[in-house]
Amino acid sequence: MTTKAHAEAHTLEANAGHGHDDHGGASHGSLKSYLIGFGLSVILTAIPFWLVMTGTIADKAVTALIVLVLAAVQIVVHMIYFLHMNTRSENGWTMMAMIFTVIMVVIALTGSLWVMHHLNVNMMPMHDMSQMP
């Protein structure tokens, strides 16, 4: 039993030890990954600026949607290639912290915009008040 517990403890330590090397378990990039990330960011930045500056797409709502989607993709690109996010670094705790933050940000942003938009619409003095009881 003792030897088995011993062996298990060592395996655990070996797994946990990943987060305890001299760089604290954070992962690194290579020249290739930085250049890929940079190339993608340049493209993903240039397209929305080009779309808005030239007004290629006449429908503004469509342009806005494309711009927002491209920004979301670029944020993911930066996270992966520049901040080296993955599910393994620090035994997954950086990913957990980020998922929690993303949930908070989404609630705060959509909640604020949604509530305040409805408040604005309902407080506008353009309602016909004569029908009110």
Partner: protein
């Protein structure tokens, strides 16, 4: 750690212990990166609140200037380029740091700092131009929230630059020691994080502002 298990097991032979009794050894700075990441996430929440404020107030011009009257997308594109270039040069600094080439690391850090300064210079020029035209933070809710959001990002870049210079001096004096490498990696995360926030700023504030 394993010693602790053995002694415990020999004392109470009938009851084997399956958990770690002693806190295992943490080398200095082992948790710094995770801690710094959590700080960045809390900073992210600050920016989320400022973005939400801008999203709510961004359309209230109070009969004052609107984004179309104020923003110059060419200047913003130039600004974005500066920050993006500073991100990749910081990446190069990290790569040369891993190869322990101290001179090249310092050179890339200096180039990063110059791009950061260029970004700040362009942003301050834009602010000065807007204020000169009367578009001050007091003018409308749109401008208050604009200056708070973009100004907070600019302040972050400013402090990032102060930190960058500090670490360059540290590296020059003490070399690429373990502690300095760790600090440079924290600043690397901070710097790339600011670039991520800037993606939100140029999309949400400038590009969507021009489409309003």
């Amino acid at each position: 750690m394993s010693v602790a298990i053995t002694t415990q097991s020999s004392i109470q032979d009938s009851e084997p212990v399956f958990h770690v009794i002693d806190e295992h050894d943490h080398p200095e700075g082992a948790s710094t990166m995770l801690g710094f990441w959590i700080y960045l996430m809390s900073d992210c929440l600050i920016f989320a609140m400022l973005f939400a404020t801008y999203g709510v107030l961004g359309g209230n011009y109070a009969a004052g200037p609107s984004p179309k009257d104020l923003f110059d997308l060419k200047l913003v594109a130039l600004n974005t380029t500066m920050l993006l270039l500073s991100s990749i040069t910081y990446g190069f600094a990290m790569l040369t740091m891993e190869k322990s080439k101290i001179g090249q690391t310092q050179l890339w850090l200096a180039i990063t700092g110059l791009f950061g300064l260029a970004f700040l210079g362009i942003e301050l020029t834009e602010f000065a131009h807007m204020i000169h035209e009367g578009a001050t933070p007091q003018r409308s809710a749109f401008l208050s929230s604009f200056f708070t959001l973009v100004g907070t990002h600019g302040l972050h870049v400013t402090f990032g630059l102060v930190w960058l210079v500090t670490l360059m001096v540290q590296t020059a004096r003490f070399g690429l020691t373990e502690a300095n490498r760790r600090r440079l990696m924290c600043l690397s995360m901070f710097w790339h994080f600011l670039d991520v926030v800037w993606i939100g700023v140029f999309t949400f504030v400038y590009l969507l502002g021009m489409l309003r």
